[in-house]
């Protein structure tokens, strides 16, 4: 029972790190980025190449995966995404789905379609037994890293100057612009950072979620659930939503394996009918 809770929390934390970039881009620019999973995949494959083929230590591979995906995200943002912000939602959906298709086929071409595994150092394999609960070391590490990241994110958004600019831009773009905040630059940085986080999540999650070229399509729905259920106005919303989703998914798979993902989709639809703006959204009109 507690093991399920533990695994669920680890899974949820991972989902949060994967999806929080998406929630910020959606909230900030009202931009539907279905290609977010592609960045996560990029991070995962980056780690696979670094750790498995080039023998870079795992602990070094993770930050490099973060940086590479962040750079990739920033590059794409400046060259491609920037042209699509002002467009209708339909255009955005088409554009990002196109990117997903391209990334899936490109990765298939370069890396092959088989599932990839990251070699995890031996120190992280096995599990601790605490009060009779088995806790996998790797999952503990995930919870630790993701927990720290969440706290750091919250601090950045709440305390720093950049954070207040970001919040101002989310609240009202035009007024923020009028106050002299360079919304475009804020957004570029946030986009790159969010992509980087997705990459890091993909690298960490390769072990648990599995990594193959269809990754962006397979987990797209999970990211979107986190964002729609959690709302886009804060990061606590998506955080709680991802923990909820993680626990529900793991518990659902454990207690009712026949139903599979059906539970998740049902919960999502019920929540969206009940609160179309998300479970934890502020009541402010948007």
């Amino acid at each position: 029972m507690l093991t399920i809770l533990f695994d669920g929390v680890a899974y949820g934390m991972l989902l949060f790190v994967l999806a929080c970039g998406l929630s910020v881009t959606l909230g900030l620019m009202n931009f539907i980025n279905l290609a977010h999973g592609a960045f996560a995949m990029a991070g995962g494959y980056c780690t696979v190449i670094l750790v498995n083929r080039m023998g870079v230590p795992f602990a070094l591979g993770l930050p490099i995966a973060f940086l590479v995906t962040a750079a990739l995200g920033g590059l794409l943002e400046r060259t491609l995404y920037v042209h699509v912000y002002g467009r209708s939602h339909l255009d955005q959906v088409l554009f990002t789905i196109g990117l997903v298709f391209m990334s899936v086929a490109a990765v298939d071409y370069v890396m092959g379609s088989s599932q990839q595994f990251v070699l995890i150092p031996e120190a992280l394999q096995g599990q601790f037994i605490v009060f009779g609960i088995g806790m996998s070391k790797y999952r503990l590490l995930i919870i630790l890293i993701c927990g720290l990241l969440t706290v750091a994110l919250q601090l950045i958004i709440a305390k720093t100057r950049f954070g207040s600019r970001l919040r101002a831009a989310v609240d009202d773009q035009r007024v923020a612009r009028g106050l002299g905040i360079n919304v475009g630059a804020v957004f570029a940085v946030t986009f790159a950072f969010g992509s980087g986080l997705a990459g890091l999540g993909g690298a960490l999650g390769a072990e648990i979620l599995g990594l193959d070229p269809t990754f962006p399509l397979k987990y797209l729905i999970y990211f979107l659930i986190v964002v729609t259920v959690g709302g886009t106005s804060s990061i606590t919303g998506p955080f709680l939503a991802s923990i909820l989703l993680g626990v529900a998914d793991v518990a659902g798979k454990y207690y009712a394996p026949k139903l599979g993902a059906f539970v998740i989709y049902t919960i999502m639809i019920v929540v969206l009918i009940w609160r179309p703006q998300g479970l934890f959204a502020r009541s402010a009109a948007r």
Binding site: L26, I32, L80, H83, V84, G86, R87, S88, H89, L90, D91, V93, L94, F95, I97, G98, L99, V100, F101, M102, S103, V104, A105, A106, D108, Y109, L217, L220, I221, L224, I225, V227, T228, K258, L259, G260, A261, F262, Y265, T266, M268, I269, L272, I273, P276, Q277
Partner: protein, 350 residues
């Protein structure tokens, strides 16, 4: 009072003028039916094209005319596909046309029920709910594998002869004629819907729902109605696929199917009925050609097409189509005619 009568007459005249068949349209359908004799060796791919065109037509009704973005049109396609497959497999209804109509009704019923979910929320919520419904059905089909065959697909479907007379043959000749006739009938129905006052009110509420409701259009009821109709047509397309291939697999519910459908519609242009049909023809040939060049990676090029279309701008792409249309029909003033010819192809939303 007399002004009002005059206004209604104006509207009636306007609708009648718009609903008139242009020579180009007649030529289109004559050519479509001529393909039965012109390309007898290509009937299998033409069948797929006709089904895709019908499917795209259903999406155009809600996307191009009512402005609902949906990623879950595959839900209706798949449900009706499985329904018609099961009905044929267990010999409940042997006659394909009746099974087809029933499948359409089943899909429309699902459309009616789920339409209430689509009424609420923003574009993103709609995307998620429509996608969620399709995924849920896919998951259900996967779970009840003793009924649906699960990941192996529904096998052993034996479709009886149409009206008890025309048997489906191996080369797909009967299947193609059947699909083409169904496509034409559904097109006529869609055309009737679009050029009716009802269709006009759909356009107005796509433009601005608030103002539409202010002039007395019941927005939600109109959306429910058109969503149901569109689901029915999508269902007929799905049933056609099962009947012509005698097979149905889980990928009828997949996200890729709905996403491809959007691409088809975008290539052809949204908001005029031929968009889906022309898009389907272009898409199928593009796919066929790319798949013969790079069998495994054609998806990459499809993705590239999508990205380029969006970056270039859909209006501009549609503008070229309209320009070609204008020059073919040789009525002059091609660029002036463009907005009238396309209507709803103007940028939707902000």
């Amino acid at each position: 009072m007399s002004a009002m009568v005059a206004a209604t007459d104006d509207v009636a005249a306007f609708l009648a003028r718009r609903a008139r068949w242009s020579p180009l349209e007649i030529a289109f359908w004559v050519f479509a039916f001529a393909t039965i004799w012109l390309f007898p060796g290509k009937h299998l791919i033409l069948t797929e094209t006709a089904i895709l065109a019908l499917f795209a037509l259903s999406l155009d009704l809600i996307l191009g005319y009512a402005g609902i973005i949906s990623l879950g049109q595959a839900a209706f396609f798949g449900l009706a596909g499985y329904f018609s497959g099961l009905v044929a497999k267990y010999g409940i209804i042997d006659e394909p046309v009746i099974a087809l109509l029933l499948s359409g009704l089943v899909a429309a019923a699902l459309g009616f029920v789920t339409s209430f979910l689509v009424l609420r929320g923003s574009d993103l919520t709609r995307l998620m709910v429509t996608l969620g419904v399709a995924l849920m059905l896919g998951e259900l089909a996967n779970r009840y594998s003793n009924l649906t065959g699960g990941a192996d697909g529904l096998q052993g479907v034996i479709v009886g002869p149409i009206f008890g007379m025309f048997r489906f043959d191996m080369f797909g000749h009967t299947g193609y004629v059947y699909c083409l006739v169904v496509l034409f009938i559904c097109f006529l129905i869609a055309r009737r819907i679009v050029y009716s006052p009802f269709g006009l009110s759909l356009r107005s509420l796509k433009g601005n729902p608030l103002r539409a409701s202010a002039i007395g259009i019941p927005v939600n009821r109109r959306l429910v109605a058109v969503y149901t109709a569109s689901a029915g047509i999508a269902g007929i397309a799905g049933a056609l696929l099962t009947q012509t291939t005698a097979f149905c697999s889980l990928d009828v519910f997949s996200l890729e199917r709905s996403a491809d459908l959007l691409l088809v519609l975008i290539i052809g242009g949204t908001g005029y009925l031929y968009g889906g049909l022309i898009g389907a023809v272009i898409y199928k040939f593009l796919q066929d050609w790319l798949a013969s060049l790079t069998p495994q990676y054609w998806q990459f090029w499809i993705g590239l097409v999508l990205v380029v279309i969006v970056l270039v701008g859909r209006e501009r792409v549609n503008g070229w189509v309209a320009a070609v249309r204008g020059s073919i029909s040789r009525r002059g003033g091609r660029f002036v005619r463009r907005p009238a010819a396309l209507g709803g192809a103007a940028p939707d939303g902000k």
